[in-house]
C-alpha cells in the first residue's frame, strides 16, 4: 500500500477514536440520547476491511457502526449530526447512533437487531447475482450474532446459492457481558463456517495492515470464485458494551493488557519503524483530527432539528 493510503488509514482510525471520545462526552452531557455503542479498540478491523473494498462493493454492519460509517466515507459532520438527532444527520435524525447509512457511499447501515442484517446482506448479494454484476457484499457482525438463527440461515443460503458475501465476524470476546466461551459452542467463530463448507480464516484484528491483507485476499476469492467466505477478526472493545455498562464481567487488567496492543499505537509504531513517515507527520494528522472533530460538533450543534411536519415522511415510498 502506498504511503498516502497508509496515512489515510491512520487518519481514519484516529478520527474514529476522537469522534467517539467526543460522543461519549456529549452523551454524558445529555446531548446524545438512546444507546451509544463505542467502537474504540476495534478501529483496525473496519479500517483495514473497508480499505480493501471496491467502491461498488456493499457494506452492512451491526449497531456499533460509527467507525464503519467513517471508513465508508460518510462525513464526520453528518455522523455527529445524526448522533444529536439533527435534520442534517446521515439518516435525517430518524435513526440515531445505531442506524447510520449512506446509500450513495454503498454503506447500507447500521442495524440494531442482533443478526437480523445477515439475511438482508445475503439479499444484497442475491440482487447483485440476479443483476449479473460482480459486486461483493461485506457484512460485519459481532461474535454474539453467530449464536442466533439468522446467522445460520444466512450462511447456509449464501453457500447453497453461491452468493458473493464476505462475512466478517468481529470477535471482541463479549456479547454485552457474556463471554464468547459462555455463549458459543465454539469460541473460534471461523469454525462455524466449516459446517457450511465455506472457506474461512482468522486474522489479528488489532493490526490494520493484517486485516487489510486478509480482506483483500478474501474479497478477491469471493469475487472471482463466486462463493461466500467468512473472515474472523480477533479484536477487543476498550469501552463498555454501551454507555450504561457496569463492566462486572471483566477485570481492569484484562482491558489494560489489550490496550497495550492498541490498534492505533501498533499502526503508529509500524509507520515510524518502517520509516513510512515521521512522528511529526502523524502528530500533524492528530492535530487535523482535533480540528475536524471540533468542526463536526459545531456543525451538529448548530444544525436544525427535524421539522415536526415531517414526522410522517418516508413511512412509505408511495402514499
Amino acid at each position: 500500500m502506498k504511503k498516502e493510503a497508509q496515512l489515510d488509514l491512520y487518519h481514519q482510525m484516529v478520527l474514529i477514536r476522537r469522534i467517539e471520545e467526543q460522543a461519549a462526552e456529549l452523551y454524558q452531557q445529555g446531548k446524545i440520547g438512546g444507546f451509544l455503542h463505542l467502537y474504540i479498540g476495534q478501529e483496525a478491523v473496519s479500517t483495514g476491511l473497508i480499505a480493501a473494498r471496491q467502491p461498488h462493493d456493499r457494506v452492512i454492519t451491526a449497531y456499533r457502526d460509527h467507525g464503519v460509517a467513517i471508513n465508508c466515507g460518510l462525513p464526520a459532520n453528518e455522523v455527529m449530526a445524526e448522533l444529536l438527532g439533527k435534520a442534517t444527520g446521515v439518516s435525517k435524525g430518524r435513526g440515531g447512533s445505531m442506524h447510520m447509512a449512506d446509500a450513495s457511499k454503498n454503506f447500507w447501515g447500521g442495524h440494531a437487531i442482533v443478526g437480523a442484517h445477515l439475511p438482508i446482506a445475503a439479499g444484497f448479494a442475491l440482487g447483485d447475482q440476479y443483476a449479473g454484476n460482480d459486486n461483493v457484499t461485506i457484512c460485519m457482525f459481532g461474535e454474539g450474532a453467530t449464536n442466533i438463527g439468522f446467522f445460520h440461515e444466512a450462511l447456509n443460503l449464501a453457500q447453497v446459492w453461491k452468493l458473493k458475501v464476505l462475512w466478517v465476524c468481529e470477535n471482541n470476546k463479549y456479547g454485552m457481558g457474556t463471554s464468547v466461551e459462555r455463549a458459543s459452542a465454539v469460541p473460534e467463530i471461523r469454525q462455524k463456517a466449516e459446517g457450511y463448507g465455506m472457506p474461512n480464516s482468522r486474522v489479528d484484528g488489532m493490526d490494520v495492515m493484517k486485516v487489510y491483507e486478509a480482506a483483500c485476499d478474501a474479497i478477491e476469492k469471493v469475487r472471482t470464485e463466486s462463493h461466500p467466505y467468512l473472515l474472523e477478526a480477533v479484536t477487543y472493545r476498550y469501552r463498555g458494551h454501551s454507555m450504561g455498562d457496569p463492566e462486572r464481567y471483566r477485570k481492569p487488567e484484562e482491558i489494560k493488557q489489550w490496550q497495550e496492543n492498541d490498534p492505533i499505537g501498533i499502526f503508529r509504531k509500524q509507520l515510524v519503524s518502517k520509516k513510512t513517515t515521521s512522528e511529526k507527520a502523524l502528530d500533524e494528522i492528530e492535530a487535523r483530527v482535533t480540528q475536524e472533530v471540533a468542526a463536526a460538533v459545531e456543525f451538529a450543534e448548530s444544525s436544525p432539528e427535524p421539522e415536526l411536519d415531517d414526522l410522517f415522511k418516508n413511512i412509505y415510498a408511495e402514499s
Binding site: R58, G89, V90, S91, K92, G93, R94, G95, H99, A101, D102, A103, W108, G109, G110, I113, A116, L118, P119, I120, A121, A122, G123, F124, A125, L126, G127, D128, Y130, A131, G149, F150, E153, A154, N156, L157, V160, W161, K313, N314, I315, Y316, A317, E318
Partner: protein, 323 residues
C-alpha cells in the same frame, strides 16, 4: 370477462408481471420444481427457469430477509411463505425490517417487495397451520397488507402490489383457491388501500374482507329472501385502511356488522367498530356487532373446527341483532 378461479387469477397476475418486468422474480419453499404447494406457480419453473423461480431452503427468516435485501438493491422479489403461520419465523424481517428500513434511514431505501402468504382455517390442519393473524401485520406502519375476496380483486391488487415500491404483504386464503369469479381479460390493476362496495343495500352494512366476503355474500342472499337489504363493504386492504366507503355506507344504513375469520379480540372488527364510533357516532341506531373466530386454538376435529370458525348462520344472526 372470463370465469376463472382465485388460483388462476393469482397465478396469471404473477406470470404477467414476470413477463412485463425482468426485475420481478419469485422465491420460496417449493415454488419451482414442485410448482407451488398450492399449485399457484405451476409451469413457472419450466417457462422462466431457475434464475427467476427460486426454490429456497425451509428458512423463512432468510427468505424474507434476503428478499428485502434484493429489493433494496433494485430487484422486485416476490417472496412466498408457504403459509402465513410460518411468517412467525420471519417476524423480525417482516415487521422490524421491511416495515422500518425506509423510515429509519431517512427515506434512503426503497423496498419494492411482495410477501405472498396463505392463511385461513377450515382444512383440519390443526392449531398451528390454520391461523388468520392478518391484524398482527396490519398493526405496523410501514407495511401494506392486502387480502382480497374475489379473483378479480386478487389479480388487480397483486399486480399493483408487485409494481408497488413499498413492501406489501399479500394474504391469500387456503380454502378460496377454487373460488370462481369474473375476471377482465384485458390488462388492469386495482389500487391498494381502497375499500369497495361489493353488494348494495340499505338496511345494514356488513364490513368484511377475504373469506368473510364469501360468508357475507351468502348471508346477504338468504336475508334478501326476507326482504332485508344488506350492503357489503369489502376492505380488501387492511393497511392503509380505507374507511370512507364504510362510513358512507354506515351513514346510510345506521347499522353495522363486521365479519372476519381471525379472533375477535383486538381484531379487524375492533378497529372498524372503533372508527365507526369515532367518525359516525351520531348515525348509530344499534350497537355494532362483530362476527369472528372463537377464541381458541383451532382444533383438528372437523365438527369442533367448524364450530369455532365463523359461519353464514353467525353472520345472519348478527345482522338480525342489529336490525
Amino acid at each position: 370477462m372470463s370465469k376463472i378461479t382465485m388460483r388462476e387469477a393469482i397465478s396469471k397476475a404473477i406470470w404477467e408481471e414476470m413477463e412485463r418486468d425482468p426485475s420481478v422474480f419469485i422465491m420460496g419453499e417449493e415454488v419451482g420444481v414442485w410448482g407451488g404447494t398450492y399449485a399457484v406457480t405451476k409451469g413457472f419453473y419450466d417457462h422462466f427457469g431457475a434464475r427467476r423461480v427460486k426454490d429456497s431452503p425451509i428458512a423463512e427468516a432468510v427468505i424474507i430477509g434476503s428478499a428485502i435485501g434484493a429489493a433494496m438493491v433494485g430487484q422486485r422479489p416476490i417472496a412466498e411463505l408457504m403459509t402465513i403461520n410460518f411468517a412467525f419465523s420471519a417476524m423480525e424481517h417482516i415487521v422490524n425490517e421491511a416495515a422500518k428500513l425506509r423510515y429509519m434511514f431517512g427515506g434512503q431505501f426503497t423496498i419494492p417487495m411482495v410477501i405472498r402468504a396463505v392463511g385461513g382455517g377450515g382444512r383440519q390442519l390443526g392449531a398451528t397451520h390454520s391461523q388468520t393473524p392478518d391484524v398482527i401485520f396490519a398493526h405496523f406502519p410501514g407495511l401494506k397488507v392486502v387480502s382480497p375476496g374475489t379473483p378479480a380483486d386478487a389479480k388487480g391488487l397483486l399486480k399493483s402490489a408487485i409494481r408497488s415500491n413499498d413492501p406489501v404483504l399479500f394474504i391469500e386464503h387456503a380454502a378460496m383457491y377454487q373460488l370462481r369469479g369474473d375476471v377482465p381479460d384485458e390488462e388492469y390493476t386495482l389500487p391498494i388501500g381502497k375499500s369497495t362496495v361489493q353488494r348494495e343495500g340499505s338496511d345494514v352494512t356488513i364490513v368484511t374482507y377475504c373469506k368473510g366476503l364469501e360468508l357475507s355474500m351468502k348471508a346477504a342472499e338468504q336475508l334478501a329472501s326476507e326482504g332485508i337489504r344488506v350492503e357489503i363493504v369489502d376492505l380488501r386492504t387492511l393497511r392503509p385502511l380505507d374507511m370512507q366507503p364504510v362510513i358512507e355506507s354506515f351513514k346510510k344504513t345506521n347499522r353495522a356488522v363486521i365479519v372476519e375469520e381471525g379472533w375477535k379480540s383486538f381484531g379487524v372488527g375492533a378497529e372498524v367498530a372503533s372508527r365507526i364510533y369515532e367518525e359516525a357516532f351520531d348515525y348509530l341506531d344499534a350497537p355494532v356487532r362483530r362476527v369472528a373466530q372463537d377464541e381458541v386454538p383451532l382444533p383438528y376435529n372437523r365438527t369442533l373446527e367448524q364450530a369455532a370458525l365463523p359461519q353464514v348462520e353467525d353472520v345472519i344472526a348478527a345482522v338480525r341483532e342489529v336490525l
